[in-house]
């Protein structure tokens, strides 16, 4: 969920900036305009809703709370926004998005997005390996110094990544 799934649909092929603008545009539309469009797009790109349902409990709870506190119309608006986010991330390669934003926001910003995206899996892997290493050394509860050691590793890795990126950009 919320990750890119390669496909050849017209939504996948559309310009990432256009999709981003439409996402913001639809966020300000009432639910009876945006929701039918989003459902149609979800069908068009064959969004694997069944696979995503398992991971959506948090959104269901949040939607239910909005329904109770603000009414069903706001809840449907919330559903529409979540669905539009899913469609954008499902159909847009983050690298494409970063590349498209280059003429508007400049190369440094675009490179920053690329480095951040590349660092996400590294962050997860580093955290998991640090946790396993601590367990292997007999630590029952992960606590003192855990975050500091991860931050230290990540900062070193970020430095290495930025050097490698600089190399490839030249």
């Amino acid at each position: 969920m919320f990750s890119y799934r390669p496909s050849k649909s017209f939504v996948h092929r559309a310009n990432p900036i256009l999709k981003l603008i439409l996402l913001f545009g639809f966020a300000f539309c009432p639910w009876y305009v945006s929701l039918p469009v989003m459902v149609a797009l979800a069908i068009a790109i064959k969004l694997p809703v069944q696979n995503y349902l398992r991971n959506s409990i948090f959104f269901f709870i949040l939607g239910a709370l909005i329904w109770v506190s603000n009414g069903w119309q706001d809840a449907l608006e919330f559903v529409s926004i979540i669905l539009s986010g899913m469609i954008l991330t499902d159909s847009t390669d983050p690298e494409d998005l970063a590349h498209s934003l280059k003429p508007i926001l400049g190369e440094t910003f675009s490179l920053g997005i690329s480095i951040t995206l590349a660092m996400l899996p590294v962050t997860m892997e580093t955290a998991s390996q640090a946790r396993l290493a601590r367990k292997a050394r007999g630590e029952r509860f992960i606590g003192k110094g855990y975050l500091t050691s991860i931050m230290q590793i990540l900062l070193d890795k970020a430095d290495e990544y930025s050097l490698a990126y600089r190399c490839r950009m030249e």
Partner: protein, 223 residues
Amino acid sequence: MLEVNGLCYKNILHNISFTVPDGSFTMIAGRNGSGKSCLLRCIKGLYPHSGHVTCSGSCALVFQDADTQIIGQTVERDLSFGLKCSKEEVTVKVHAIAEEFGLDKLLERRPSTLSGGEKRRLAIADVAITGPDVLMLDEPFANLDYPGIKSVIELLQNLKRKGTTVIMVSHEVEKVLALSDQIIILDQGAIKMQGDADEVFSKADWSDAGIRVTGKREDMLWL
């Protein structure tokens, strides 16, 4: 031609000078922590240093950890990263290099799903696609199994045959000794010995340089 003159970096490298002729294969060897990787980064201009580095053409560096250099979400996108030409030209270049480096069947794959050897080949291809005049490789055999090492050596042989100037840093000397034209031995940030590969091979005290060498030089191509 690449010329390094009086290069110094912090307390790590001291007065390094050497020349790498066009189309040659230079190996920089030495113990862990002798400053080999640092030297490549200084030559590439990633670390500020004193002294002069003159390169007659473009100079590219392949990092020790292939993962840091891989950017694209797929192999194809990674190969096309940073290429400044038309879409059609990019496609042609990417497919040609993928075929050369044996990555043509992996173009749609996510780099994270590749094996260590495939990642290393991709990292070298990423740099080779830009057609550098001088290609520098930092420990290209690190963490590779035998087939992985074999495929990297074959790539290096091809690059040498095509006339690319190659500078390789390694402490696994015997794997590519037969390919080397020049050897530079670093020790504690200074050049301990440099010169023609035959000469250095016969005269060097390899065990003192932290390297185990067995057999004859011409036998030392690890295939």
